[in-house]
């Protein structure tokens, strides 16, 4: 007896009980759809966060001053423009593309009609690529502006909105920063709060020298923004930053550092690990529903075998070998779970087309392959017992059953 005939008998058996077959499949459909959907959610969230982190400046490394632990026995040294110059040395730091010293300060910005709280960020032109800042209107400040200490400013989107209203272009106007007049030369593209340490939309970007000359004085730096030459070279760039600053600050032990290095890469690694664990948890929950669906198949196949005992007896009397009966019921349960699995994949995939908030679920091809393989395995595993029971029925007992 050929496999084609066995499949035909199985399909006929399933078709005879269409509604029951469909309801049995529902367990598998829900299980597989849940696995596809939940792993897609985890994957989508991971990709979304990766892209948000890339928005922070994929290759950028931020150095912040830090209070060293008591064991270091020192208060530590601040970050200075001399540190910036040392990091800028292409000999000592070949993987570093640019270095920007940054001074920040909380200020009040006044445009006459309205005023707003903001953070003034004084730096050099390399800060724009280093911090991944995009200019909406106007221009960035130049090295010449920095050298001359010109009081020019670029306003973040929230600052523009607060001072001039939505959609206004303040280029050419003058604002008072803590009473000091700055000429507005540009505005910044809204970042939508890239999930960073502070909201870049509330920043006012000016030349470093202008902030130091009028507001903070020529003292310590608030941070240093370093840009690596490439994404691949970021780890090497971090090492270079650490070794140069350790040498300059006289630090022997990494625990005693008076600065800390934060990179998008580190952030991405931590978030990736967290999300990976989360996705695994979701998939495990979905897998439980798959097992429940599989037990549903066993249950229905047992009912089916009991219900069709007489039919099995007739088939045996007509010369059906045990393998044909086993095959028929096994193939029935495999078809149930495979068709259920296929529908589950389709339903799960359709579910991922619905955007959730800011991110969209992204289907993992490996999850689809695994789901189909698992559903076939469920058919074999959970169908084996009822099918064996049917195959082992003695024809005389099966025929006597009414």
């Amino acid at each position: 007896m050929s496999l084609v005939e066995i499949v035909r008998f199985a399909l006929r058996g399933l078709w005879a009980n269409r509604l029951r077959s469909l309801l049995t499949m529902l367990g598998i459909i829900i299980g597989i759809a849940a696995v596809i959907l939940l792993t897609a959610l985890g994957n989508g969230a991971s990709q979304y966060i990766q892209s948000q982190i890339a928005g922070l400046g994929a290759n950028s490394i931020t150095v912040l001053p830090r209070q060293p632990p008591q064991s270091a026995g020192t208060d530590g040294r601040p970050l200075t423009t001399a540190d910036v110059d040392a990091l800028s040395d292409p000999q000592g730091a070949p993987d570093i593309a640019s270095v920007s010293g940054v001074v920040t300060s909380s200020v009040t910005v006044d445009a006459g009609r309205a005023s707003s709280g903001a953070t003034i960020v004084g730096s050099t032109p390399s800060y724009f690529p280093g911090a991944n800042v995009q200019i909406a209107t106007g221009r960035a400040y130049t090295e010449a502006d920095v050298a001359a200490g010109r009081k020019v400013a670029l306003l973040g989107a929230t600052v523009v909105e607060d001072l001039f209203g939505v959609g206004a272009d303040p280029v050419g106007r003058t604002v008072l920063v803590n009473g000091v007049p700055f000429d507005v030369i540009g505005t910044l593209v809204p970042s939508g709060n890239g999930g960073g340490l502070s909201n870049p939309d509330e920043n006012v970007l000016t030349p470093l020298t202008a902030v130091q000359g009028s507001l903070t004085g020529f003292g310590d730096l608030s941070q240093i923004v370093v840009q690596a030459r490439s994404t691949e070279g970021q780890a090497a760039a971090e090492t270079e930053v650490n070794s140069i600053l350790d040498r300059r600050h006289g630090i022997d032990n990494a625990d005693d550092r008076d600065y800390q290095v934060i990179s998008a890469r580190q952030l991405a690694d931590v978030l990736d690990q967290t999300l990976g664990a989360f996705t695994l948890l979701l998939a495990a929950i979905a897998a439980i529903s798959l097992v429940v669906g599989g037990i549903g198949i066993t249950n229905i196949m047992l009912v089916s075998v009991t219900e069709r005992t007489r039919e099995i007896g007739i088939r045996k009397a007509l010369g059906a070998p045990p393998s044909a009966i086993l095959g028929q019921f096994l193939v029935e349960s495999i078809i149930l779970s495979l068709v259920g699995g296929a529908i589950g994949v389709a339903v799960g995939y359709a579910g991922t087309l619905v955007p959730l908030g800011d991110f969209r679920p992204v289907v993992l091809p490996s999850a689809v392959v695994a789901a189909v393989a698992v559903s076939a395995a469920i058919g074999i595993f959970f169908g084996a017992y009822p099918a064996r029971r049917a195959a082992r029925l003695r024809p005389i007992d099966a025929l006597r059953r009414e």
Partner: protein, 244 residues
């Protein structure tokens, strides 16, 4: 085209064994100890090729048990059963299935057709298990249905057929593999007199064509159509000889 009875007496058989059935000292005991029921006691029976034998007896006499043994549906407690010279005790489950498929055609009182399956597919079923290809299968099933006069009912399902028609479909199904032996268990028990006449006439024709038939009944009129009658009482078998 291959027809089930084209090949004449002993259709499909090349073995030169005189007795289709050769039973010696067959017993069947259900249960153990004090509660043991002796359904068959030391039964001897031989059936020659082409014979038409009726087994009669009261209900509970053991005649159905005998038929189950002869059909390899149940195993005897003791004794020897040769079917076409082959000792069935040495066959495993799969080999017994092949034996039932090739050598035995069953006809049951309750027809035992597969629900929701049309007549042609019913008749094709034993050939499917025999591994016969689709085209040949169809031809032989159509020929078998033609033989029982149901060609135009080939696409009807059991619930669309009368009792007599269902039993004729069952006869076609029993014949289609060209078995050495037709075993009929009260084939007319659920039929009205007209249908009974049809089915018995069909058996007469099959007998005339050389088929070996063993028929169980409690109806003397049905038994009278056979060429030889044996009686089962309390698990023992007695030859009665040619009736009437």
């Amino acid at each position: 085209m291959t027809s089930p009875d084209e090949s004449g007496p002993g259709a499909g058989q090349t073995l030169a064994v005189e007795h289709v059935i050769d039973v010696r000292g067959l017993s069947k005991v259900y249960g153990e100890g004090d509660t043991a029921v002796h359904a068959l006691r030391d039964v001897d029976l031989t059936v020659r090729r082409g014979e038409y034998v009726a087994v009669i007896g009261q209900s509970g006499s053991g005649k159905s048990t005998l038929l189950n043994m002869l059909g390899c549906l149940d195993a005897p407690s003791s004794g020897r059963y040769l079917l076409e010279g082959l000792d069935v005790a040495y066959l495993d489950e799969r080999q017994q299935a092949v034996l039932r498929n090739r050598q035995i055609g069953f006809i049951f009182q309750a027809f035992n057709l597969i629900p929701r399956t049309n007549a042609l597919a019913q008749v094709e079923l034993p050939l499917v298990y025999a591994g016969v290809g689709r085209r040949v299968r169809r031809e032989r099933a159509e020929a078998a249905l033609a033989l029982v006069g149901l060609s135009e009912r080939a696409d009807h399902r059991p619930n669309q057929l009368s009792g007599g028609q269902q039993q004729r479909v069952a006869v076609a199904r029993a014949l289609v593999t060209g078995p050495a032996l037709l075993l009929a268990d009260e084939p007319t028990g659920n039929l009205d007199s007209t249908s009974t006449g049809d089915v018995l006439a069909l058996f007469d024709r099959l007998h005339a064509a050389g088929r070996t038939i063993v028929l169980i009944t409690h109806d003397d009129e049905v038994a009278a159509r056979a060429e030889r009658v044996v009686v089962v009482t309390d698990g023992r078998l007695h030859e009665v000889g040619v009736p009437g």
